[in-house]
Symmetry: C2
Subunit: 228 residues, 2 copies
Amino acid sequence: MLAHTAQTESSKHAGYGARARPVMAPHPLEDSFDLMGAPMPFARNMEIYGENEPADYFYKVLSGTVRTYKVLSDGRRQIGAFYLPGDVFGIENGPEHAFSAEAISNAKVLLIKRSAVTALASRDNTAAHQLLGLTARELGRAQNHIMLLIKTAQERVAGFLLEMAERGQAPGEIDLPMSRQDIADYLGLTIETISRTLTHLENCAAISLPTSRRIVLRDPAALRQLNG
Amino acid sequence: MLAHTAQTESSKHAGYGARARPVMAPHPLEDSFDLMGAPMPFARNMEIYGENEPADYFYKVLSGTVRTYKVLSDGRRQIGAFYLPGDVFGIENGPEHAFSAEAISNAKVLLIKRSAVTALASRDNTAAHQLLGLTARELGRAQNHIMLLIKTAQERVAGFLLEMAERGQAPGEIDLPMSRQDIADYLGLTIETISRTLTHLENCAAISLPTSRRIVLRDPAALRQLNG
DNA sequence: CGACCATTTGATATGGATCAAGCGATGTGG
DNA sequence: CCACATCGCTTGATCCATATCAAATGGTCG
């Protein structure tokens, strides 16, 4: 539904560019695409692209957090993944997006023309290899997600916390950018179950919850055990 | 656990080759790899590769059916996918297999050296494109699987039947190569729930079950509606 | 025919959903 | 600055879909 106007939009924010790339554990594979993109800001809860729209761009998170999701006919929402700064999203099978994407928090996203990437990939085989690597990584993520979805509520939440802790910068500390509803829709549970499970983990001294969005992993080994 | 002896094994069955490729809806993308492989037979329930083994080969089903799966520490098994003749499997993120693979029925599988494919891909960009296409298709399959796993038992079974019907040759008729246990482990349900759901669908006149392994889609539209 | 295995069917238990308040932070208008 | 509405989160009570436990049935192979 949202028509990208990358040129016009990004021209309003001409200060960013590749320079604005946050200091992160680098994803070396995709670096060569960075120069091809136009940075673009998205406000909290704004749609970046919609399901079934033509997949004309790849996207790289510069700052903020992004969710991809699908909604079933009766309104159930499944979140496909959360993307943090440095992550690339929008890579999918076929010419249309299978999921929708929204900014969870105010975010800056690099838009990279898919046609430019595939053109580059057909000339430069390191670029092709990088694109393959990104797609395979996404596949691995989806496979892990499948494994999460067959577990008990405790195991799903423990797995989610470990995943977020690994991806964040502070080891053993998580600053959740997403709501309980987002977590629930990622894990295939309800907000009530997420909340109850977190308080239970706190009672078990596995975690502590200084605030509802901040989680300290007090006993990661216990979480890993729960993880199945 | 299983060390492939592709050359020695396949030399015992030197009659197959690309000629033995079953007549199927072709997957045009991977045809250029076919000549690079060595066909190899696997008996029912034999392991093709194990989780965490080096992923030195890609595999293409020539006949029979293959399942990939992961087992959690407590014995729960999740089936990642079923592969029918013409399908390629063993494409994963990283240098090791994330799943194990077994023949469900006696099967012939083409083994294709991964190094040969990547070497070809770095020279020939159509080959690179084909490999990317296979990986992206696998990603799409995993994403659909995720969507299945958040649904009710009826929806999962309906979705599974529609998926199998699309992939099989006879429209509206399914000859299941796998057991109820396999279906259960694919859908994250129990065999009892699979069985009960199938009999319920039969009572609703959505399907009929001439035998336990044969399913006729009597009312595909009803199934599609159930699918969510 | 008889043993074995896969599948179906039945009875009961339970984990997580649903329904329903409460609570705490954040923000807004008076 | 405070009263109050709002929103996200937590907590409690009950319900229900599916798991679990158990037994019967049926199909296959020696």
